[in-house]
Symmetry: C2
């Protein structure tokens, strides 16, 4: 944990150092606001860690690490508008506080600042990193579109779900590690392996998010309990329930997931089916499985065992979080 | 005009060639839709022209030219949401047709595709172009924020207005030419001069847009007549009126520009003041002045007189349009 804290401190200090001070205020204040809400800042930590562990100069990866965090927060700003989410990390979401137009425009600005934050890199590394970064920005958007589609689409398969979370979440954790590794100058083989480690870690991470939506500690979560159920989001819990439930339970699930309602009975009934079918345990097992796949890719890198440890710590941290 | 048509044909062909065919459809269809609405496609023409006239390989500038057009259309998609504009080029705007969420998300996707379209360039040129491009994306957003602020801000000066249109419009015409010149490999002196030509041409272009909002041929304009007046936009016409009107006329202008109303009387009364003070003639003179400043920068490039001609044609085309 100590090494994660060290990287988190570097990220926190850099966020303070590079907070936006330009005008117009109406444009930059919402960016500083969402960044200041904090969160685990796992993605920028991944950039720093990969650069550091593959023998790079960590200092060179600080601004690219912020770029990843800016992009992530841009996507939260726009997603919160699309999802009509009133809260983000237990605070008002950007559009709740500043209006939808600011949520759109300051979001746009934040992501363009992200592209700017790669500009200290040498042209060759700059281009390699930008290609990885831009690719993942597109995947994240495609993933968000699939996520929206799934709310009203009836024939979503488990494979569709895996593709969606791979795009929406895992693409960015994968590219965070790839970018850190690219900045370190390590060989391509290592970049590819750590990117795959990041992909499966990201899948496990999103599965954990799905799990915590229902089974997490709401006081720590900063989001509405069971928001995914209210939104008819087809999450890991939903697919596991569909797989293991009785015919009449599946009918009931289908009934509730076709309804758009704030009725608490919906959550109560859906959770009853989840619990009866032990989807919580099954979800945790799947999360562990993807964490293990991730670890197998970590073993394919040629760094020392000592340098692998922080990645293992990171995986454990993500697996064991409660919010 | 013929040379402009030639470049426009290259742009049109490339747009067809690179139309988005990937999935999910819900994500890519709105992008193809807005691009297909056409328009003058002046900015990508500028990229091609600059690359060509400074002796570059035009082929290399085609995808970057599309990148500029993608970015421009991204900004239209998001601006139309912010401005609640029902129409774009006489057709339903993207969010009118596909909903606000699609307008946001497909807009985001379109701009990320723009960044992707620079990736065929060699690392050195790639980085130079990306720096210019990213800088202008941020300026365009800042300009949009100033534009929004000005709707409710009372003490907007003519200088504020010039800054706003320089950011919101001229930054992109400037960077379009700079990027074309950079791809050609011409010396920095030429890149700087043609960028300034593009900046002043952009200022003249936006002033012409302001002029056409009231004095243009509405059937060709594809936008609501006098939309800027309804929206309380402080345009060139407003500043010229404020400068030359009598005290009682200024009071009346202030009265109307504080009101948010669809009352046709507003447009009627404001236009009466505009016409009485001949702001149309005065606007055209200012547009000509900025076109002349632009031309003076064109003279600072070291290309042949023949190669300067397309830029002059472009300026004349923009000055003489009626929509």
């Amino acid at each position: 944990m100590e090494i994660l804290n060290q990287y988190q401190k570097i990220v926190g200090d850099a966020i303070n150092k590079y907070s936006f001070k330009s005008k117009p205020n109406e444009f930059y204040e919402p960016m500083n606001y969402i960044i200041s809400l904090g969160g685990k800042r796992i993605r920028p930590v991944m950039v720093l860690m990969a650069c550091d562990m593959f023998g790079g100069n960590t200092e060179e990866s600080v601004k690219p690490a912020l770029a990843i965090e800016f992009f992530h927060n841009f996507s939260l700003m726009h997603d919160d508008i699309m999802d009509k989410a009133p809260l983000r990390r237990n605070k008002p979401s950007v559009h709740t506080l500043y209006g939808i137009n600011s949520g759109i425009l300051s979001g746009d600005g934040l992501v363009f600042k992200a592209f700017k934050f790669f500009e200290d890199l040498e042209p060759e590394t700059f281009k390699l990193c930008l290609k990885v970064f831009t690719k993942s920005t597109i995947l994240v958007c495609e993933g968000q579109q699939y996520d929206i589609n799934f709310e009203t689409q009836q024939n979503v398969t488990f494979d569709d779900y895996i593709k969606m979370i791979t795009y929406k979440t895992a693409a960015l954790s994968s590219s965070s590690l790839a970018i850190g590794a690219l900045i370190s100058g390590t060989k391509l083989k290592n970049v590819v392996a750590i990117a795959k480690f990041g992909k499966h870690l990201g899948i496990a991470f999103q599965m954990m998010d799905d799990y915590l939506d229902v089974f997490g500690d709401q006081s720590q979560l900063g989001k509405k309990h069971a928001g995914d159920i209210y939104e008819n989001k087809k999450t890991l819990l939903y697919f596991l329930a569909k797989k293991h439930a009785t015919e009449s339970e599946i009918k009931e699930l289908d009934y509730w997931y076709l309804k758009k309602t704030d009725n608490i009975d919906k959550v109560y009934e859906v959770e009853k089916i989840f619990k009866k079918n032990k989807v919580d345990e099954k979800a945790l097992r799947l999360i562990e499985k993807h964490t293990e796949i991730a670890q197998s890719y970590l073993q394919k890198t040629d760094i020392s065992e000592d340098n692998k440890k922080p990645f293992v710590e990171l995986a454990n941290y993500l697996l064991k979080r409660e919010s």
